[in-house]
Symmetry: C2
Subunit: 110 residues, 2 copies
């Protein structure tokens, strides 16, 4: 098992949670502090901090060092890695769609 594969497992694992994916969606609109993130989710600060730590360990976000604010920023590298991993299977779903098209055309021609 290469360390690259381990990292991919860590990213997939971090994304296997609706709250963490919602945090990422919020950060896609711009950086936010932990307080700002906690508010819409109606979660305690310790609960949201735990999710933020998981995202940070997976490299999906970074947290600034600015005194009490420490805004969180979304990081794109693990998302690109997930995208690249998924792309290797695109030819399979495209060929299945082609087969489906052929089948439908065949039905319509009959």
């Amino acid at each position: 098992m290469s360390s690259d594969e381990d990292k991919l497992s860590q990213t997939f694992s971090a994304l296997a949670n609706t709250t963490r994916r919602a945090i990422l969606a919020r950060l896609a609109e711009g950086e936010a502090t932990v307080n700002e993130l906690a508010e819409p989710f109606n979660m305690s600060l310790p609960a949201i901090s735990k999710h933020i730590k998981v995202l940070e360990r997976a490299g999906l976000i970074t947290q600034g060092q600015k005194a009490q604010f420490r805004p969180c920023t979304i990081e794109v590298t693990p998302l690109i890695e997930i995208s690249n991993w998924t792309e290797q299977y695109r030819h399979i779903w495209e060929s299945r769609f082609d087969q489906m098209d052929d089948y439908i055309n065949q039905l319509q021609g009959e």
Copy 2:
């Protein structure tokens, strides 16, 4: 939390394992029985069967009903869902690359 989101969590969770991703990569080349899958991984049948069950529950593979063979087939729907989820972030990494390009051009111009 919608059931769609739950399903996405289940897919991400199933993919957070190198052996399960390797099984998918093998099935991308064509269907295979549990015995055929177990061989290259040098794993016991019960161990590989456990991974197959996780992939099956996430809808990433299906297992045929043909007597003792029961070949496994890769299923594309959850992979398309992961791809669609990731695509929503593409504009972020593309805009960051654009910013990087601008910065490099600026440095080269100086």
